[in-house]
């Protein structure tokens, strides 16, 4: 059973990457992922440069390259959907894979496509991980607000984040309680039917819903008691310093340059 605090991937620190304004970090992360997606398959040199840039940033952040690299494998299972490209893209045959009555032929172009997708995906996840690991979610919310996401959405995200861990704890207490009563009798069919098991979970979901609803009512009262009138107020975001603007512009320009380079070359 995992505790909800281990779910939060923010790693506290005082590195230059941690201290960089969240708006700059969020913009650069999005631009980085977009740039990667724009790169054609097989642009290994530029992809390598992108990887190097990211890993330098990870070094600066002091969160540990190993942590980021390992956690980035989270999206790997999805790569298996793309593995078929190896065999379906036409090109020079590289090797054959006998599989029962069928023989699959791998092409060079297919291998390049597949490897490019997996590598880009891996780097994109690392970039997102670096953002999450070095930026507290409240700062991400602040950045989203500054980037003009509707206030209602920012408010919902903020409440959701606040109560996420409270709810996950409640869900896990329920699962634990079920676990403790899921006994078996030797020689008897145990566990009940799938429909019954699904019903039990459904009732847990229903319970959680009712509790969540009641909690939202208490929160609303607590807000009213402190003068809430329906309008959401926050401190105004400060403007970016010249240094931050500089970092943002240099970062965006570098990424744009790298993408242009691959298309011009």
């Amino acid at each position: 059973m995992l505790s909800s605090s281990t779910l939060d991937r923010y790693i506290a620190g005082q590195s230059p990457v941690h201290l960089l304004d969240a708006r700059v970090k969020l913009s650069l992360t999005l631009a980085y992922i977009l740039a990667l997606a724009l790169l054609p398959s097989g642009a290994w040199l530029v992809m390598g440069l992108c990887a190097a840039m990211l890993w330098v940033a990870v070094r600066w952040s002091q969160v540990g390259l190993r942590t980021i690299l390992l956690r980035a494998f989270v999206a790997l299972p999805f790569a298996l959907v793309a593995v078929t490209l190896v065999f379906s893209v036409p090109g020079q045959p590289v090797f054959r894979l006998p599989l029962g009555p069928w023989v699959l032929t791998a092409s060079d172009a297919g291998l390049v496509r597949f490897a490019s997708i997996v590598f880009k995906s891996w780097l994109s996840v690392q970039a997102a991980l670096l953002l999450t690991a070095t930026t507290h979610f409240t700062q991400v919310l602040y950045a989203l607000r500054a980037l003009r996401l509707p206030t209602v959405l920012v408010a919902i995200l903020s409440f959701a984040y606040r109560y996420l861990f409270v709810m996950i704890d409640e869900a896990q207490r329920m699962l634990r309680a079920r676990e403790c009563r899921s006994a078996e009798t030797p020689g008897q069919h145990s566990g009940g039917s799938i429909v019954w098991r699904a019903r039990v979970v459904g009732q847990m979901v229903g319970t959680l819903f009712v509790r969540s609803y009641e909690r939202s009512e208490r929160i609303y009262l607590a807000m009213l008691a402190r003068g809430f009138t329906g309008e959401l107020r926050t401190l105004n975001p400060r403007s970016l310093t010249q240094r931050e603007q500089g970092i943002l512009i240099i970062g965006l320009a570098t990424l744009a340059g790298l993408v242009l380079m691959t298309y011009l070359a």
Binding site: L7, R9, L30, L34, L36, A37, L70, R71, V74, A75, P77, F78, L80, V81, V83, T84, L85, S88, L99, L104, F119, S121, S124, A128, T132, F137, V140, P150, V152, I156, L157, F159, A160, Y161, Y163, L164, M167, I168, Q172, L175, I194, V195, R197, A198, R199, V201, G202, Q203, M204, V205, G206, F209, V210, S212, Y213, S216, I219, Y220, T229, E231
Partner: protein
């Protein structure tokens, strides 16, 4: 380190790198429009109570997705929640809630990419809730609020929403150049079953809420979406229901030739550590190569697709009958 990823329906959270830029941006546009409409609709009837409610509901859906139950061979059933959210909260609030859930998963846990977030929100947040609301809610009223009607509608919309999300995901991947021969059958097959789990949980959860706090569903509807509940069922929504079902059936059937365009497509599906062909065997034996023996060409594939759908509907129908029987025994 354990991640929530392992607990969520595999294959619906598209990571970055898999969608091409035009595909990702196209779905971003659709998502921005849908969420924008939802913000306006919810904002128009803005009651300040909604903001904490929707935030807590997003946290609730997130946590509810972690509640799972063992199915077979180490796999587990759990909830996506879009249809449930729509039936409990009304369509537009549910769109906002689900959009926030999917966005949090990407931003906090890297479940799904950021460039792909538009597509992911659309598949899991917009499509699922719209099916829940615009097929489920009118259908529920059509059946006159009967308990068995609730079971049927809850199950059908939940199942449909998962399958629709899987189909949309497949479509986006195929548009990005992945082989249709693999993506469609694999996604569809896996989610036909995941959808059953979704349906069962949704029905039980709805039933629980209606038994313990029946006031909540109406209270909530009254300040989240007064219009839907008070409006009598008109011809348009009946058309919506039947049209939705029909379009879905025809769409899935038409997609199946794509799915088997490549003769040895299915065999290449990979999941877990190896190839999934073992798992696909039963389906194969039923309809070898996704076509009917003795017939050739796309016609046979379409027929096979329709047959497959009928089989699934039959299964669903049987299950609902079973559930209904149990409910009546209890009542």
């Amino acid at each position: 380190m354990m991640s929530t990823h392992l607990l969520l329906p595999l294959g619906l959270h598209i990571p970055d790198g898999f969608l091409t830029v035009p595909v990702a941006l196209a779905w971003w546009v659709l998502t921005v429009i849908a969420v924008g409409v939802a913000v306006r609709k919810v904002g128009a009837s803005l009651n300040e109570r909604q903001i904490p409610l929707m935030g807590v509901m997003a946290a609730f859906i997130f946590a509810a997705q972690m509640l799972n139950f063992p199915v077979l061979g180490g796999t587990s059933g759990h909830l996506l929640g879009g249809a449930l959210a729509a039936l409990l909260l009304g369509p537009w609030a549910a769109v906002l809630v689900m959009a926030c859930v999917v966005a949090l998963q990407a931003l906090l846990f890297q479940d799904g990419g950021l460039l792909a977030l538009g597509a992911n929100i659309f598949n899991m947040g917009v499509a699922t809730t719209l099916i829940g609301a615009f097929v489920g809610a009118p259908l529920l009223r059509l059946l006159g609020g009967q308990r068995w009607g609730l079971v049927l509608v809850g199950f059908a919309t939940a199942w449909l929403s998962v399958v629709a999300a899987a189909l949309l995901t497949s479509m986006q991947l195929v548009l990005s150049g992945l082989s249709a021969a693999v993506v469609f059958p694999a996604m569809l097959f896996v989610h036909l079953f995941i959808g059953v789990g979704e349906g069962l949980i949704t029905v039980a959860a709805l039933g629980f809420v209606l038994t313990t706090r029946p006031d909540l569903v109406t209270t909530m509807a009254s300040y989240l979406n007064p219009a839907t509940l008070q409006r009598p069922l008109n011809r348009r929504s009946i058309l919506g229901v039947t049209g939705g079902g029909l379009m879905f059936a025809v769409g899935a059937a038409l997609l199946s030739p794509l799915a088997s365009g490549d003769p040895d497509g299915l065999e290449r599906v990979a999941e877990d550590q190896g190839f999934i062909d073992r798992a696909l065997d039963p389906f194969f034996n039923l309809l070898p190569d996704y076509t009917l023996p003795g017939l050739d060409g796309p016609i046979s594939t379409i027929i096979a697709g329709v047959l497959g759908l009928l089989i699934v509907f039959g299964l669903v129908y049987g299950l609902t009958l079973l559930l209904r029987g149990r409910n009546q025994e209890r009542a």
